[in-house]
């Protein structure tokens, strides 16, 4: 919310510097996101008059424009504005001015420059380039037409659109609807700085007898409705200072009537509306019947749904209650008589309506957050006063339908409790004093009975009172403490530990962890197989389903990496999703890994398999790995645009581990020397290694310690259908030194038996 500082000062005297004020508001919960000098943005900018437009010699879309920027000063500049005309008044930024190119990015200092070979002494600005985009919406490449100002060329732009007004940019949290106004913020400032809010006078004496006929059919959604007629108003522009203030607050001035309603809304937070009294005979507030439409003030047609609250003239809707008025009944240049509305609408109904219509307005934001019904009548009087002042006319008597009483209750809380929760030691009278400054009524001494003011709908519990005391006392005035209590070791979820172990193990083996999105597209669903959870509102097709496998995304990123990296070894540990029945889905945690490299597929497979084995060992899990590791087939590599060989594995990390931490066990090693032998054999590919290994183990009579394949070859050097395998054999005993003879005997046996059983050619 934009809040002009001078306006705030009308309601509370401010002795702090602006910077200190901003800090104080921020630390009381109303974050000041910035303080802008409204006029400062217009330094080195003046009103100019377009004298002559000539074509640009080198660009079709650009024009060479002569602009008068003083009684006799003419400058030439290049302009691409589509709506530029001779005689038009425009906003000219001269070198040194700060502009926002095309309304985007940071402010840039303008310099005299050449555009396509032609010198340009400045720039004719669009509204968004000088921060007026909100008030003067425009098409791309349209410049701001300042002709309506009728001001003489050379006048500083600050005089037209701003002043030296300082504007606070406040982030009001959704619970504090009461601070959506100058008055509301003034109350906060008063409470923080121990000042009093200044009251303004209101009260109107009726000059005409006319009274508006108001019927409220739905008292639940409209608790209170005030209306008043004002006869014979003269529509014109509002006073310049009012227009500037509205602009500073981010609202576009329209005419003196509409401006007055907006002005009072900004001032005290009560949204108001003005109807053209000659187009509206009476006011009937009711819910929408089937299939009604309205053309709103934004000239768009809205299809209204049943149960939305509308203002009607007895037949058709003339306003969407609390959201936006209708175009037909709105105040125009030819309006003579008006009806003013000041009402209280139900926050939830307003919210539902504007969400359904996608029509958020200054009015709906305030109603949604809850307004102060105690101010509804005052607001009507205030806006009447302003209109009489700015537009003349004769006011009628106010019509009131509905009743109001402060429904915000009383809250009981002891000063002791407040201190205990906050961790501070305030005296009860200090607590009472803080609450009173905020407008709360307080009675009682040990237990405080706190009456909540009409504007504070957010305070209903003792905890809310504690917060009020905390934030006004100041959280940064409290001494931080550490937790007290028994010191107990923090238990760690077993699965968390297993994940951490798996991560460490993968990293230690030279693999890199990545994280990919939890959703993927339909093609990935087919690939992963199984039933998938589908998203209702994906932003793109890549977010349509929740993953059941991490491989599709992993292969995607691995493929991209393979373009810049020689070898890719990636893994991810994360959740996948299996639909559950009427309950939350099952979310197993998986580890997935991919290796891409220039080695042959056998070597790559063996590397991945080695890593997989190590991981299982590290997390102390045994499982059949046949189905969890695979070489990526040609078609799949093509699909992911992977040119080299690739191997993947993926499996579910165990949820419940019997031992909370996989524990390693020491095995005594043999002091006796080991004997190593190498063998190589050429064998039918149909015979799998595990059969070879089993035979060797059987023949070695318990002295074989380790068997380790170090070379696998199939190709030109060996016959078709054969594979060459080379391996180390390590023999040893924990009881004695082996003799070379006994090892040689085993080797001889092995060679013979491999030849006999598998028809293998064996070389030592």
């Amino acid at each position: 919310m934009k809040l002009p500082l001078s306006w705030l000062k009308e309601f509370v005297s401010i002795k702090l510097s602006t910077e200190k004020l901003a800090d104080a508001l921020t630390l009381a919960g109303h974050e000041v996101e910035g303080v802008h000098a409204q006029g400062k943005g217009f330094d080195r900018m003046v009103i100019g008059k377009v004298v002559k437009i000539e074509p640009h010699p080198n660009a079709d879309k650009l024009r060479l424009v002569t602009v008068l920027i003083g009684a006799h000063d003419e400058i030439k500049l290049v302009c691409g504005g589509t709506n530029i005309k001779e005689g038009m008044l425009v906003a000219v930024a001269l070198s040194g001015a700060q502009v926002r190119w095309h309304g985007q990015g940071d402010l840039v200092e303008l310099k005299e420059t050449e555009i396509r070979g032609v010198k340009s002494a400045g720039m004719i600005c669009s509204a968004s380039e000088i921060g007026l985009g909100d008030q003067f919406p425009h098409e791309e490449r349209e410049i701001l037409d300042c002709s309506f100002t009728g001001i003489k060329p050379g006048t500083p732009l600050a005089k037209v659109f701003g002043s030296d007004e300082l504007v606070l940019e406040l982030d009001i949290t959704p619970n504090r609807g009461d601070c959506m106004s100058v008055l509301g913020v003034a109350r906060e400032v008063a409470a923080i700085t121990k000042q009093k809010v200044k009251n303004y006078k209101s009260g109107v004496s009726a000059k005409v007898k006319d009274e508006v006929s108001v019927v409220v059919q739905d008292k639940k959604l409209c608790r209170l409705y005030f209306a008043r007629v004002i006869k014979s108003v003269a529509i014109s522009q509002s006073p310049g200072s009012v227009q500037n203030r509205l602009r500073a607050a981010g609202i576009r001035p329209i005419n003196n009537i509409v401006d007055a309603t907006n002005y009072v809304m900004l001032e005290i937070g009560q949204p108001l509306h003005a109807f053209d009294a000659d187009k509206v005979n009476k006011i009937v507030v009711r819910r929408v019947k089937k299939a009604e439409t309205i053309i709103a003030l934004d000239d768009k047609t809205y299809e209204l749904a049943e149960n939305m609250l509308v203002i009607t003239d007895g037949t058709a809707p003339i306003a969407i209650a609390g959201v936006m008025g209708g175009a037909h009944s709105g105040v125009t240049k030819s309006t003579k008589n008006i009806i003013l509305e000041s009402a209280v609408f139900d926050p939830i109904s307003i919210r539902k309506t504007y969400r359904a219509l996608n029509l958020r307005s200054e009015s709906s934001i305030r109603f949604e957050r809850g307004i102060d019904a105690a101010g509804t009548e005052k607001a009507l009087d205030r806006v009447t006063q302003l209109i009489l002042e700015w537009a003349g006319g004769n006011a009628g008597t106010a019509t009131k339908v509905g009743q109001w009483k402060n429904s915000n209750g009383k809250v009981s809380v002891s000063a002791e409790k407040i201190n205990e929760v906050l961790g501070i030691e305030l005296k009860p009278r200090e607590v009472v004093e803080i609450l009173k400054r905020l407008g709360f009524g307080v009675t009682g001494t040990s237990t405080l009975v706190v009456t909540v003011p009409s504007w504070r709908h957010d305070v209903t519990l003792a905890e809310d009172i504690i917060e009020e005391v905390g934030r006004i006392h100041g959280y940064n005035n409290m001494n931080p403490t550490l937790l007290r209590g028994e010191l107990r070791p923090g238990a760690i979820d077993p699965l968390w530990q297993i994940k951490e172990q798996a991560r460490d193990a993968m990293q230690n083996m030279g693999w890199t962890e990545c994280m990919t999105y939890s959703f993927y597209d339909e093609a990935s669903v087919k690939e992963a197989g199984g039933e998938h959870l589908e998203l209702e509102n994906p932003l793109n097709p890549g977010q349509q389903f929740l993953r059941r496998s991490m491989l599709p995304r992993l292969l995607e990123v691995a493929s991209k990496n393979a373009r810049t990296e020689l070898s890719v070894k990636l893994f991810e540990i994360g959740r996948v999703f299996h639909p559950g029945k009427n309950t939350l889905p099952n979310e197993p945690t998986m580890i997935a890994a991919v290796i891409i490299g220039k080695q042959n597929d056998i070597a790559l497979y063996r590397e991945a398999k080695g890593v997989l084995g190590k991981i299982l060992q590290q997390i102390d899990v045994s499982m059949d790995i046949k189905n969890i590791i695979s070489v990526l087939v040609e078609a799949k590599r093509a699909q992911y645009k992977i040119k080299q060989n690739a191997v993947v594995f993926e499996f579910v990390l165990p949820v419940a581990h019997e031992k909370s931490v996989a524990r390693k066990k020491f095995h005594a090693y043999s002091e006796f020397p080991e004997i190593e032998r190498d063998l190589s054999l050429i064998i039918d590919r149909a015979i799998s290694w595990n059969k070879v290994q089993a035979l060797i183990e059987k023949l070695s009579g318990g002295i074989l310690k380790k068997i380790d394949v170090f070379d696998v070859y199939q190709g030109k050097e060996v016959a078709e259908g054969k594979v060459s395998l080379a391996f180390h054999l390590v023999f040893g005993s924990s009881e004695r030194t082996l003799t070379s003879e006994e090892v040689s005997k085993v080797i001889t046996d092995v060679v013979t038996q491999l030849q006999k059983h598998f028809n293998a050619t064996v070389r030592e």
């Binding site: 959704p174 934030r471 962890e513 990545c514 959870l533």
Partner: protein, 340 residues
């Protein structure tokens, strides 16, 4: 052998030897030179220190003590100088020592993992449990039980990925607050690290997916000042000597609610573009657990109080390492990952 040399002369000789040693034993001498030098000091026949040592025997007891101590010091010094020369690592002459070392193949953990470990480390040291929640949640746990009613404006700012079956992707790790309390009784200290999701278009500052760490403490007499102290411990453990400030903020599941700002790491609080000229960085949301949420946990708000906080690991990590695009975390790009 002359016995006329006074202790004074002998000490002077020691000084000369030291001076000589300091001058001659340079870091870049060859191992050959080094061995020659060693002999010149310690050689059995001609070593200057050896020679001096031999003279000890002829001295009076007091003088012997003085010279002995001096020589011990000298020996240690010269020995140290000799051993500190590069010649210690013998090098074959055929190796070009300017060749680059072979880059060892190392793996990397995701920076979010590394950062999460820093955070969990701080909390486990303070006796917090680590628990995890499910990433798909019910509307009830993600919103309702956390006191976020269906019509509440706060749901605006937490736009949600919905599933076709009515479930949703959790928008924060907070649902686990209530779930965890189903099986626990105060005193409770726990953190919930995990992935959360927001329904928004991605750019350098916005992601659909990010990592959060939730914290929850419930006990009798938990105070706002405990919350402030705990968070200060966290931020100072990770970022060093930073200032923090608490700013009231609104979250429906806490009351009072507090945002935590940390003095800007880039400018140290003077104001820069990273902190939008404020000198402060918004780090995390926190607050005292709302009594309605306590009730939803079956905890009596009259007996117990608690605090909760949620911190975005991505933002922390980005500030810590100077990463300027949140999407990099989810890109899987090794050029990013290998830097950590």
């Amino acid at each position: 052998m002359s016995s006329t040399e006074s202790i004074k002369d002998l000490l002077h000789s020691a000084d000369e030897i030291e001076e000589h040693a300091r001058k001659e034993i340079k870091p870049d001498i060859t191992s050959e030179t080094r061995e020659q030098l060693r002999l010149s000091f310690f050689g059995r026949a001609q070593g200057s220190i050896t020679n001096l040592t031999k003279k000890l025997g002829a001295l009076e007891v007091e003088d012997r003590k003085v010279l002995g101590m001096r020589l011990n010091k000298l020996k240690a010094l010269v020995d140290g100088l000799l051993n500190s020369t590069a010649g210690g690592a013998e090098q074959s002459s055929h190796i070009d020592t300017t060749l680059t070392g072979k880059e060892p193949e190392v793996g990397h953990l995701h920076p979010l993992t590394q950062f999460m470990r820093k955070v969990t480390g701080v909390f486990t040291a303070m006796g917090f449990e680590i628990v995890e929640g499910s990433e798909v949640e019910t509307e009830e746990y993600n919103f309702d039980l956390l006191n976020v009613p269906a019509t509440h404006p706060a749901r605006d700012t937490q736009d949600t990925f919905w599933l076709k079956n009515g479930l949703l992707l959790r928008t924060h790790t907070s649902p686990m607050q209530v779930r965890a309390m189903k099986s626990r009784k105060p005193p409770v200290r726990l953190i919930v690290p995990g992935r959360v999701f927001r329904h928004e278009a991605t750019d350098a500052g916005h992601e659909t997916t990010f990592m959060q760490c939730e914290g929850l403490v419930i006990d009798s007499h938990v105070r706002v000042t405990d919350l402030i102290g705990t968070i200060r411990t966290l931020l100072q453990s990770i970022f060093g000597d930073v200032k923090i400030r608490m700013r009231p903020h609104f979250y429906p599941f806490v009351e009072p609610g507090l945002d935590v700002d940390m003095s800007c790491l880039i400018c140290g609080g003077k104001g820069c573009s990273v902190c939008k000229q404020t000198g402060w960085l918004e780090m995390m949301g926190s607050g005292m657990v709302h009594p309605k949420v306590l009730k939803n946990m079956n905890i009596d708000p009259k007996k117990y109080t608690g605090f909760a906080f949620g911190l975005g690991i991505d933002r922390f990590m980005m500030l810590y390492y100077g990463v300027n695009d949140i999407r990099l975390s989810w890109s899987g790009d090794l050029r990013f990952l290998k830097q950590f």
